[in-house]
Symmetry: C2
Amino acid sequence: MGALDEGHFIAELENGMKLDSIELSSEEEPATTAIEDAVKVLLHGLGEDINREGLRKTPLRVAKAFREGTKGYRQKVKDIVQGALFPEAGLENTVGHAGGAGGLVVVRDIDLFSYCESCLLPFQVKCHVGYVPSGLRVVGLSKLSRVADVFAKRLQEPNRLANEVCSALHHGIMPAGVAVVLQCLHIHFPDLESAFLDPSHQAWVKALVCSGSGVFENEHADVWDDFLGLLKFRGINKDSTVMRHSSDQSWCPARSCSGAKTSTIVESINPGMITAVASIISSLGEDPLRKELIGTPGRFVKWLLNFQNTNMDMKLNPVHLNPDVEISFKKKQMQSELNLSFWSQCEHHLLPFHGVVHIGYFCTENLSTIRKSLLQSIVHFYGFKLQVQERLTRQIAETVSSLLGRDVMVVVEANHTCMISRGIEKCGSNTATIAALGQYSTDPVARATFLQSIPNTSISQL
Amino acid sequence: MGALDEGHFIAELENGMKLDSIELSSEEEPATTAIEDAVKVLLHGLGEDINREGLRKTPLRVAKAFREGTKGYRQKVKDIVQGALFPEAGLENTVGHAGGAGGLVVVRDIDLFSYCESCLLPFQVKCHVGYVPSGLRVVGLSKLSRVADVFAKRLQEPNRLANEVCSALHHGIMPAGVAVVLQCLHIHFPDLESAFLDPSHQAWVKALVCSGSGVFENEHADVWDDFLGLLKFRGINKDSTVMRHSSDQSWCPARSCSGAKTSTIVESINPGMITAVASIISSLGEDPLRKELIGTPGRFVKWLLNFQNTNMDMKLNPVHLNPDVEISFKKKQMQSELNLSFWSQCEHHLLPFHGVVHIGYFCTENLSTIRKSLLQSIVHFYGFKLQVQERLTRQIAETVSSLLGRDVMVVVEANHTCMISRGIEKCGSNTATIAALGQYSTDPVARATFLQSIPNTSISQL
């Protein structure tokens, strides 16, 4: 029970702020500067002007995001748990079946995010933690979430994350056992070609992993049934936990590319960019030569190069649909293409944002198949760049207007990774932007009609 | 465009950590100490031993939670917005109908919490912000959330919160207009009597408020239709925004008690407790004599006194159901009472936690009406205290076991305000605890059968 006396940590750690900022502002500053320099190399490699207004502070933002997103390397579980262990009598002397010390305690649905060690993109985690107290001690409930976050805020892979959280809680609380279930969601960016060729591309890769210690070490132990019985409310049942001890290393979609193809591409890219990413990894406190990290710089650069400034020449063929030809005596009707998927890269943070584009226009009714693929091409063209959503919206509207006539309305709905993986961590938030031209700009009824045609589910399905 | 040059703020403000911790660790320390002292007075007034292990650090935790929850008083919008304004060309020179500068930009579903100025309890906020850029400038999307949070982290009331966020963004960004819609949710604690007498007590009070500036100032402007059109996806339609300019001051359930009754109660309570709460309000940087805050200390103390140590003598009448009488030759069957509501107060943070209790037991089948009200009484008895969920679970199991026989299983599912309104802000998370006695502790099938009988929706409906 000596841990209860070490309360001097709690003052600094209760809100987790002080230690971080001390580190960031003193001896860790060189790490931030090194990442900034590396990001400048990457921006150069993308053909960007690093003095462009929108990019000027991007290196600093990226450095801070990476440091913030990996602050777990600089946090200690002991500091969090000690001072938050409380004496609490159990009901019986048996372990595992009583309230207080003894009964199973579960915190469900903790939203976290982590960084994929294979590609450096953030992935989302829904974390469920359970433990069976012993030694007449329980831990403050919020500490389960804080400890999980320490390991999430590192370069990770779902199985290791689950194991590290489990092991750290076991050693920190010394309970009868700890169980961890993670539902992980990794964005699956299409590359440029497949974005055009495969409209049914799946945006997410999912993984469900578990880890257990003590009374949970045996995956067939009854106490797992109790734990998973409580999680059934959250859409998990025991049958789907077959991955519990899966050592599947290829959950990251960047790894599932054929090795040959990847290495060819990697060989053809600027070695300075690869070195820059390796230096970012070092600056985060990791060893770029760790087995799992060796291919990471190549994968990150390959992904980044999707957004190269000069990557794509838009091949929009106006022959397919010549507005002059269509000006007939037929009355033009309101048309729309909804839920055109887009993929883009936030130029402020070098983090993905993606979602759907809805386009309304007035046109006589023909050639609609060609029109849909044309509009999807326009959306991809402006998506695969360093972007901001407002500009993307405007550029799509301008281009569509030049092709399909002046009455155009564009709505872009997006999830921004930077909104969940930066300091603010607003997981549920999403963004919508509108551009309205011609009749749409002057006629509220036309706008309302178009907005009402957009399905409610357009963004939540992403 | 001079704002773009003031980048020296961004380094410190990008993750919002440094300034806070500097303040907390130096000149603001006296404020924290003053709150700690006040909390000790309150704990004494509740008849608690402030040296009890579970309470020893409660004054510090409460002080830090209050300071953290009101840090908006010590933040400046200018610092957040400046350095995050980006030049972005609009499509046309008209305001409000083009992408980039000109087109409507909306961030939806930002989860915030705030503190009610009438009762000092936290309330939840789902925040939607829109603005129409002008002057060829857009603001970084995450800043809309950060600015909203500055005003949420104060003692607030929904209408004022919406107006302050709107006004601050308007002055910070200088756009064509700003619109703010807030969906607010305030916990409605029953007092001791009504908890027993009114089983259909509604746990939440809701408020929907809006505020607009510039092109949104006229609530009938078309641009409101565009904004609300985008929000329709989130369950809001224009018809339900009639409260837009409502000046309803009584949304806080603590205010809706009849004035006479409240003042009688307030007169009867320890004036030292009232003074202590007033000193907390001062320490947060507010004026306890501000009109809206005058009755707050009395309301907070009245609510706190629900959890007085010696408040309630359990009047469980074992005559109603004598276990000896029931021991017959009839085979006992598994019985359960699900979704018994409970209300409690986290002794670590002096913040509410509440949810449902499910009780399984073996019994012959009779007297079930009496049994349900008896079990609900037991749940309330142990709920209306300074508690921890683990102990609550154990105490209910012990008491039920002494009345209904040794085979008892208790599951408590709860939402902890401290999990959303402390630093970790895990809005979606919730907690489950189990105690299993007698047959339930040895028979996994009995446990699984009981767990399966608990409806999926038991916690999400809260």
